[in-house]
């Protein structure tokens, strides 16, 4: 893999250099717009900013931050947390003691996959190593509005839905799938399993919208841009969202897992409006009336600023907004064929049936 990685890196840097040179020099924007029009950013032949590239969205900055803490972290605070994270990674990567005792039956009871009967070790996990930086500030949360950095309170209707069990949702992450932590009936049918486990969408709202870091692995996203369409490809489950430029939304009868996305340029910012979600997507438990507005702005040759506003009057008392940078990477994206190798879903259900059979036998005895 090392050779390929080196090759990929070299090709990536070359491409980046070529892009920068080609577009910074002499490409006059087609139409005058925005104060940033003269900023030295890569541009398309039509003058709009060139948003294309491969981006790694992994970050330590969480969606929400602890109540009462500021949006901006001090450099010292960030460095301390980043070092602690790196140390955990080093200890996680250390060889295991060959003479260690067997884990307790059923796992050690801690939260997370490894706390049960074993899951990924740290080698497989690529959850980010740095806090996101926006305008020179190290950010403690992605949510910037409400200013306290917390997703607004749920409406009474949403609380009612949640009480009745609305799982599974597009943001539910693998770490929450621990056996024993799920409600009764969670293993009765494939439709009761999380969308990620069913290979319908990645977990953690990685495909979005809103597109979020999944804090686990496979955080690459690719943008391909033409005058009519902007493609946002999510590595996990190879989810491709095609934004139709200067178009109208599909009729309300047409529902899409990632919603129906239409785009327009506001100066140098690509604004993407998404509606028409399915009633099965349910980002953070929202309904099919979810409405997302995303704003993509190129900050420099290596960075996009991604800002999004989330609105669903059936779910939150008010709209809320988050932002974080998308950082270009020279990594290659490989195929994420999830469903094709999904032995887990069948075995999870089969295991539940086997357990029921065994439990019934024990009861008889």
């Amino acid at each position: 893999m090392t050779r390929y990685k080196a090759l990929a890196t070299a090709a990536g840097f070359a491409a980046m250099a070529a892009l920068t040179a080609a577009h910074v020099e002499g490409q006059a924007p087609a139409k005058p717009a925005a104060p940033a029009a003269k900023r030295a950013i890569p541009r398309m032949p039509d003058g709009h900013p060139d948003l294309q590239g491969m981006y790694d969205l992994a970050t330590l900055t969480p969606v929400e931050r602890a109540a009462g803490t500021p949006l901006v972290m001090s450099d010292e605070q960030a460095a301390k947390l980043e070092q602690a994270n790196a140390a955990r990674k080093v200890s996680g990567d250390a060889p295991l003691d060959g003479n260690r005792a067997a884990p307790p039956v059923g796992g050690d009871g801690s939260a997370g996959p490894a706390g049960n009967v074993g899951g990924y070790n740290s080698f497989w996990i690529d959850a980010g190593s740095r806090f996101s930086v926006v305008e020179g500030q190290r950010r403690a949360s992605i949510v910037i509005d409400p200013p306290e950095g917390r997703v607004p309170a749920l409406t009474a209707a949403a609380r009612g839905r949640f009480a009745r069990n609305v799982r599974p949702t597009s943001d539910q992450s693998a770490r929450e799938d621990d056996p024993g932590l799920e409600p009764a009936g969670a293993y009765d049918d494939p439709e009761r399993r999380p969308l990620g486990e069913r290979c319908l969408m990645g977990f953690g709202s990685t495909s979005g919208p809103p597109v979020l870091p999944n804090y686990f692995y496979n955080n690459l996203h690719q943008i391909v841009q033409t005058p009519d369409s902007v493609l946002i490809l999510t590595e996990m489950v190879h989810d491709a969202r095609v934004v139709r430029m200067n178009s109208e939304h599909a009729p309300k009868s047409i529902r899409k897992w990632m919603g129906d996305s239409i785009g327009r340029w506001e100066g140098d910012t690509l604004v993407v409006d998404t509606t028409n979600f399915t009633d099965k997507t349910r980002y953070r438990g929202s309904t099919q009336d979810l409405h997302i507005v995303e704003r993509f702005t190129r900050v420099d040759a290596k960075t996009l600023l991604y800002r999004f506003t989330v609105e669903d009057p059936n779910t939150w008392e008010k709209p809320w907004t988050g932002e974080y940078p998308w950082t270009a990477t020279s990594e290659q994206m490989y195929e994420y064929a999830c469903h094709e190798g999904n032995y887990a879903l069948g075995n999870i259900l089969r295991g539940a049936r086997l357990k029921e059979t065994n439990d019934a036998k024990k009861t008889k005895q």
Binding site: Y4, A8, P45, G185, T226, A240, W257
Partner: protein
């Protein structure tokens, strides 16, 4: 003056007629007729952007075939009839006839591989990866009966298929051999004149070419050629090389048509959800009645 004009007129008619004849004679030769010059992208290459779809029976069977009662058949007293598993579909489950897209006769299987193809056909319901909503591979993705979108910019080419949400990033710089086999392979493109030539390799052996059991090994390499031959037509060719399965390279050719509807777009076809009952229904707490 008048004479000159009519002379020019005749010349134009002759040229157009010649081009027309050339078009008829070699509709799929992969070379753009001299008369047609495709609109250009900003970098001067032909603009392949758009939503395209094959209009062919190739996904049923790449080779020339007559109509059949069903994909899955069983012996009847007077010839084959639909197998029990697909009987309820009636005429909807039958196979439309096609003249085939393979150039120069049948697919050149090695004898022992032809036997596997026939076995695949007999066990179609169990074996066709399309039934399980698996990624279609190349070139099958191209002629699935659903549209796909080509996104082409000065620095990227990308194919987004509606079927199963399959995707292919087409590298414009060769990243070297694919480090791992995959369903959709690794694709590297170059322009040969006005033709986009895509070298696809790094495949696993799990995809098929059609619903008739035509298959390949992980040695498969596919060279595709995309040439615009009209405002709404791409001439598509794919040459398959797989020395483990075939005695020689073989080629298919078919036109791709633009979806010219104003509201044409790639929609959701996440068939993973549609096959859960098939794949996992037996593991429900309360299996549905058969």
């Amino acid at each position: 003056m008048r004479k000159t004009l009519s002379g020019v007129f005749i010349a134009i008619v002759a040229a157009a007629g010649g081009a027309l004849i050339a078009t008829w004679a070699t509709p799929l030769s992969g070379q753009a007729p001299a008369a047609y010059r495709a609109p250009r992208a900003a970098d001067g290459h032909p603009d392949l952007n758009g939503i395209w779809q094959a209009n062919t029976e190739a996904n049923f069977d790449l080779e020339a075939h007559m109509a059949r009662p069903a994909m899955a058949l069983r012996a009847g007293p007077y010839g084959p009839v639909p197998a029990a598993a697909v009987l309820a579909l009636g005429a909807v489950g039958s196979v439309p006839p096609g003249m085939g897209v393979v150039e120069g006769g049948p697919i050149p299987y090695k004898p022992e591989k032809l036997a596997i193809k026939k076995e695949n056909q007999d066990k179609w319901l169990e074996r066709d990866p399309e039934i399980k909503c698996y990624l279609p591979g190349v070139p099958r993705a191209t002629y699935m009966p659903q549209p796909f979108q080509i996104l082409q910019s000065q620095s990227a080419i990308f194919f987004a298929y509606q079927y199963a949400g399959a995707v292919r990033n087409i590298y414009l710089k060769d990243p070297g051999p694919a480090p791992i086999d995959s369903w959709m392979g690794q694709s590297v493109a170059k322009w040969e004149g006005d033709t986009l030539v895509v070298d696809a390799s790094g495949f696993n052996d799990s995809t098929w070419f059609d619903r008739s059991g035509n298959f390949h090994s992980e040695q498969l390499k596919v060279v595709e050629r995309y040439t615009r031959t009209g405002p709404d037509v791409i001439s598509y060719e794919a040459t398959m090389t797989d020395p483990e399965t075939f005695t020689r390279p073989w080629k298919i050719s078919l036109p791709l048509y633009r979806r010219i509807e104003k509201n044409a777009q790639i929609m959701d076809f996440k068939c993973v959800e549609f096959v859960e009952e098939l794949l996992y229904g037996q593991y429900r707490k309360k299996p549905l009645t058969k």
